[in-house]
Symmetry: C2
Subunit: 98 residues, 2 copies
C-alpha cells in the first residue's frame, strides 16, 4: 500500500475531517452536499466549474441537477470508500460557493 490519500478513511477519520467541512454529510458511505442556486442556469454554471475541477483532478463526483439544486456525491471507487481525495474535492467545491 502506498500511504497516499487514496487509502480508505476510517469512520473516526471521516468524522474528524467533516468537522472542517460542516456543509457536507456522510450519506451511504459517501460525502454529500446539496447546494441551492437562483435558477437552472446558475446551477449549470456551477456544475461546469465542478466538472472542470473534477477533470483536472481526475476525480469525478456524481452530480445530480434538479433545476436550482445541485447534489454532489463523492467517494473513491478504487478505494471502496471515502478518501482524502474526496475531502480535497469537497473543499475545492466549498471554495467555489462558500
Amino acid at each position: 500500500m502506498s500511504g497516499t490519500s487514496v487509502e480508505k478513511m476510517s469512520e473516526s477519520e471521516i468524522k474528524s475531517a467533516l468537522e472542517d467541512l460542516p456543509k457536507w454529510n456522510e450519506v451511504g458511505g459517501e460525502l454529500q452536499r446539496t447546494i441551492q442556486f437562483d435558477d437552472f442556469v446558475a446551477s449549470m454554471v456551477f456544475v461546469n466549474r465542478v466538472a472542470d475541477a473534477a477533470e483536472s483532478d481526475a476525480h469525478h463526483p456524481d452530480i445530480l441537477i434538479r433545476y436550482n439544486k445541485v447534489t454532489l456525491t463523492l467517494s473513491t471507487h478504487d478505494a471502496g470508500g471515502i478518501t482524502g481525495k474526496d475531502f480535497r474535492l469537497a473543499s475545492t467545491i466549498d471554495d467555489m460557493v462558500g
Copy 2:
C-alpha cells in the same frame, strides 16, 4: 383547463407514446433514460446540450451525471405527472444521441 400539452397523460396514453420512444422507460411516474458515453467529458458536452434545450423550452429534466453515464428524468411538476412536454423533450434528446 387549456387542452394543451401540459395536461397530465393517462397511463394508456403514456404506454402508447412510449412505443415511439423505446429507449425511455416510465419509472416512478416519470420518463427516464440513461445514456452511456465514452468518458466524463463527453457526458458533460451532452449535458450542456440538454441544458440549452431545456432552458429554451423552459422545461428542465433532472440530470444525474455518473462519470460516463447520464440519467435524465422527466416529468411536469405543474401537471403532477408526465405530459406532452416531457415526450417532446425526450424526443429532442433522442435526436441528439440517436
